[in-house]
């Protein structure tokens, strides 16, 4: 499925994603009213249902949602102070956008032309049978000195080289949000509440951080809530 076909049922809008985009671009719908988080949730749920991930479609979705986010952040944030780092003025921004659109348009149109050529060209079929071997055998008389013998010695030298063992010290185990969500849900299934430090105090910082993210996500979805009576005090997580 294309990201544009994603069906949305939001507070401010209900219908396919591409219609939402069109309305936003035509400024018939204010982005300020649209909860972009809900779109992401709808898409993630759609992926869940679908089971397998279409990379092309997922990429398209990411690009679209990223541009919406960028647009919305500009809407919501105050205009930069005069002496802030120089952002592009509206004129330059329009020019830059225009240049990129024109470049893309050019190749999209050329693509249409190529697709047409291909449609015609693929109806011609070519012979692929090799000529009889007796006609093919290269004749010694026609052969000239074209290759440098040193290239052989060089290639051989390369094969005598053994690579140093790659340095893997920088590779760190990855922590996935999905897996942390799984761990949290499992904990809450077993008891209805737990203490964050008891459960995750011994994990490394990255794991702890991603677990907090997962908690935020669960809070948003209404799966869990937590309380902390004082700063740096114990965090009590409860299922809802």
């Amino acid at each position: 499925m294309q990201a544009s076909d994603l069906d949305l049922d939001l507070d401010a809008f209900s219908g396919p994603f591409d219609l939402l985009l069109a309305l936003v671009l035509r400024e018939e719908l204010s982005l300020a009213e649209v909860a972009l988080g809900e779109i992401v949730v709808a898409y993630v749920e759609h992926l869940d249902r679908e089971g397998d991930l279409d990379l092309e479609a997922a990429t398209e979705f990411l690009v679209l949602i990223a541009s919406l986010l960028e647009l919305k952040s500009r809407l919501l944030l105050p205009a930069p102070e005069e002496d802030d780092e120089p952002l592009l003025g509206p004129e330059e921004a329009a020019d830059e956008l225009l240049a990129r659109m024109l470049e893309y348009r050019r190749y999209r149109a050329a693509a249409g032309h190529l697709a047409e050529l291909f449609g015609t060209g693929r109806r011609y079929l070519y012979r692929s049978a090799p000529p009889p071997p007796e006609l093919r055998r290269a004749s010694l008389d026609a052969a000239r000195h074209v290759y440098e013998p040193a290239s052989l010695a060089e290639a051989l030298g390369g094969l005598l080289r053994t690579p140093p063992r790659p340095d893997t010290s920088h590779i760190r185990p990855t922590v996935s949000l999905e897996r942390r969500l799984g761990v949290l849900r499992e904990l809450l299934r077993r008891g209805s509440a737990f203490d964050f430090d008891d459960a995750f105090g011994s994990e490394d910082r990255l794991t702890q951080a991603v677990t907090i993210f997962a908690l935020l996500e669960m809070h948003k979805r209404g799966e869990a809530t937590w309380e902390q009576d004082e700063t740096f005090g114990p965090i009590r997580v409860t299922a809802r």
């Binding site: 400024e27 990379l55 092309e56 990429t59 398209e60 690009v63 647009l71 500009r74 809407l75 205009a79 509206p90 004129e91 921004a93 329009a94 020019d95 956008l97 225009l98 990129r100 659109m101 024109l102 470049e103 893309y104 348009r105 050019r106 190749y107 999209r108 149109a109 050329a110 693509a111 249409g112 032309h113 190529l114 697709a115 050529l117 291909f118 449609g119 015609t120 060209g121 693929r122 109806r123 011609y124 079929l125 070519y126 012979r127 692929s128 049978a129 090799p130 000529p131 006609l135």
Partner: protein, 194 residues
Amino acid sequence: MSDSAAPLEHVVEALLFLATEPVSTAELAEACEASEAEVDRAIDLLGEVLSEGRRGLVLREVGGGWTLATDPAAESAARRLLAKPRTPPLTQAQAETLSIVAYLQPVSRPEIARIRGVSSESAVSTLHERGLIEESGRSRFGAVVYRTTPLFERLFGLTGLDALPDPAQFDPTPEDERELRERLLRAGEQRATT
């Protein structure tokens, strides 16, 4: 000409039948021990006999040389005989990626992605698998760069890369461009004031 008895256009037809790749006029002249002008004349004669609808074969100029192909009218029978499925048409993503490679070659994946605005990994690998593009070295930054293949020219019926139309012809007119720019500008200003 050494094969004294046979007219040059017959010899040329035989050579094009045997060769698996397009053959240039110069190569034909050398093989036939004839001048390029003589080969040109023979090609003209052959092209008349082997024009579309006249016989089962047609003479085509593609990929920098001459080659024989079957008349499109025989396509479906040929696919039945060879049990070959029809080659699928290009997807939009593939066609766009291919046009960028064709016009800008050598070009790297990141460049393609920048122009298309989306990652183009899967289009690049499909085009590569279908033999339409190939690696042609690395850019200054170490990214693999791509170019089109002779097969591309053959399948698209191009005599060479210079037979691609000037892409500027696809650009909008100056009026359209001005209007587009004004619309963008207005949108930007409205955004700035909200």
